[in-house]
Symmetry: C2
Subunit: 312 residues, 2 copies
């Protein structure tokens, strides 16, 4: 299949590599010039479960996307705040047959994608794969994962299953979901607690999880997510979600890790995705008349911290 990976950072590199290895015709599109140059010069290098691999995959800058080629599938993997400019850049490779699969963190990206793609061609998903970048052109890909995806358009279930098949042939273990919004909200609750709190408190998940106030903070944040989700027909089981969050405190599994937002802001002084995690709950809360003070305050605090750290 002819596939473009729009946003070829750590996770985009994983998908590009695995899809290319399975014989698909893959193009990577990114905005980070040093990364692009390295991949053009040396191919995409990866430590892939302990083995050093190099795969030649074409890559172009977001500013020089060809407009004469059309793609069958585009997988969106940008940071949330870069989504709209990426879609603007890749307009030329989208036609009426192009399916667009959004695997970004956070909630509500379809509101932006819809401006560029008809709903019947939009698919959203939720990935449990992990990935890291060791430097420009060099990925670190360990462990196993899977993803779930679903069509947003009413009559596109077969297309969703077809996309899942293509991904699964590349060993990405993609599963068709009957209720992807539930999975997305559930994952957003994990991000909406651990990301912001670990960033603000400058601590890993085990440390934050060991404090006496973490549970009440998580409960109140999840309650806000659940109230908003409920207005969208998604009935979150708050106890189940909280158990999932509390599971991340375990130092013997993932508790000693710092969530991606901590890496972005505290380690790398980059802007965070807070507006697409807690911030979107605040915005939807206003729309539905639901107070969301914990999400509001957390979003305001993270933005203040971004500005104090001069994040870019």
């Amino acid at each position: 299949m002819k596939i473009a990976i729009a946003g070829a950072g750590a996770m985009g590199s994983r998908f590009a590599l695995m899809l290319a290895q399975a014989g698909n015709n893959v193009l990577m599109i990114d905005g980070w010039q040093a990364h692009i140059d390295a991949i053009k010069a040396n191919g995409l290098q990866a430590n892939y479960n302990g083995e050093e691999v190099v795969v030649k995959i074409p890559i172009v800058s977001q500013t020089e996307v060809p407009s004469d080629e059309k793609f069958e599938l585009i997988i969106l993997f940008t940071k949330a705040m870069q989504l709209e400019s990426m879609l603007q850049s890749i307009k030329g490779i989208i036609d009426q047959n192009t399916k667009v699969l959004c695997l970004l963190n956070g909630i509500g990206h379809e509101d932006i994608i819809e401006k560029f793609v008809p709903m019947e061609n939009i698919f959203i998903g939720n990935t449990m794969w992990t990935a890291g970048l060791e430097g420009p052109g060099k990925a670190k890909l360990f462990g196993e994962g899977y993803l779930e995806l679903q069509n947003l358009g009413e009559n596109s279930e077969d297309n969703a299953k077809e996309i899942a098949d293509v991904l699964s042939e590349a060993k990405l273990d993609a599963r068709y979901s009957e209720n992807i919004r539930y999975s997305i909200y559930k994952k957003a609750c994990v991000n909406g607690t651990m990301n912001g709190l670990c960033t603000l408190l400058d601590a890993n998940m085990a440390s934050v999880g060991a404090t006496s106030t973490i549970k009440v903070m998580c409960q109140l944040i999840v309650k806000e997510f659940a109230s908003v989700a409920d207005k969208e027909g998604v009935k979150l089981n708050q106890d189940e979600v909280l158990e999932l969050i509390y599971g991340s405190f375990n130092p013997e599994t993932i508790g000693l890790h710092y969530p991606s937002m901590h890496q972005d802001l505290i380690k790398n002084k980059r802007l965070t995705e807070i507006d697409y995690i807690n911030g979107v709950i605040s915005r939807k809360g206003i729309k539905y008349g639901i107070p969301t003070p914990y999400c509001d305050f957390l979003t305001q605090l993270i933005h203040a911290k971004e500005e104090i750290m001069e994040a870019k």
Copy 2:
């Protein structure tokens, strides 16, 4: 006058020194042994507006307060969380004539003092003096200030004015206030915004004040203080309070300073007074049926940070 200073840290040292210099019979009481030992050995040393002074003032440990002596005035200057144990320690020097003046930061200390002292002998105040400690037994006392105080008992106005006179004779510029609760709430709003936010964001007041979200955070926190104050008959002018807070952002006046809570927790890994600033608004909010999510969340976050930092 025979005066005990219960809690002889930075600010207690200022008051002890100035009151002793004016001829009062002063006893310092404290819980920090190195500080007590230094003052016993060398007297209280201070850089007092640039001049090095040494004053011999008796000091005792909180654990060895004499019970045969009674005092006319006791000024409370502990950290909020140490107030009750201090009162327990000094019970023996309080009789029916002893006036107790509370100058602690925060709100609602009278609820604790009342257990040890009849209301007619309780006076509360609000000080604008500053003070620092350079080490055990050594204070740094710069600048000018004043304080306001008022009786809590109905018929104790004359006594309040008498205490103010004694303090003013020692150049402490004490003013009788008709509405001390208003001043205390106003100051608590400054502490309730700047202390917690600068601590959590690890930044000084000018940096925090320069962020795009600071004003909305301050507005929402002050609104919670005002709603609670209103239930206690204190009508806070929120605009006036906010102007006072915004004034602290100015880098040419006090903006480059870190509030005391930041010094306590981030610099010295000490427990904070958050339970007596924002936490008391949360507790009173429950009592009055007023939601106080910003004060709740800030209190929870600061407690989490205390535990992560293993503050003592």
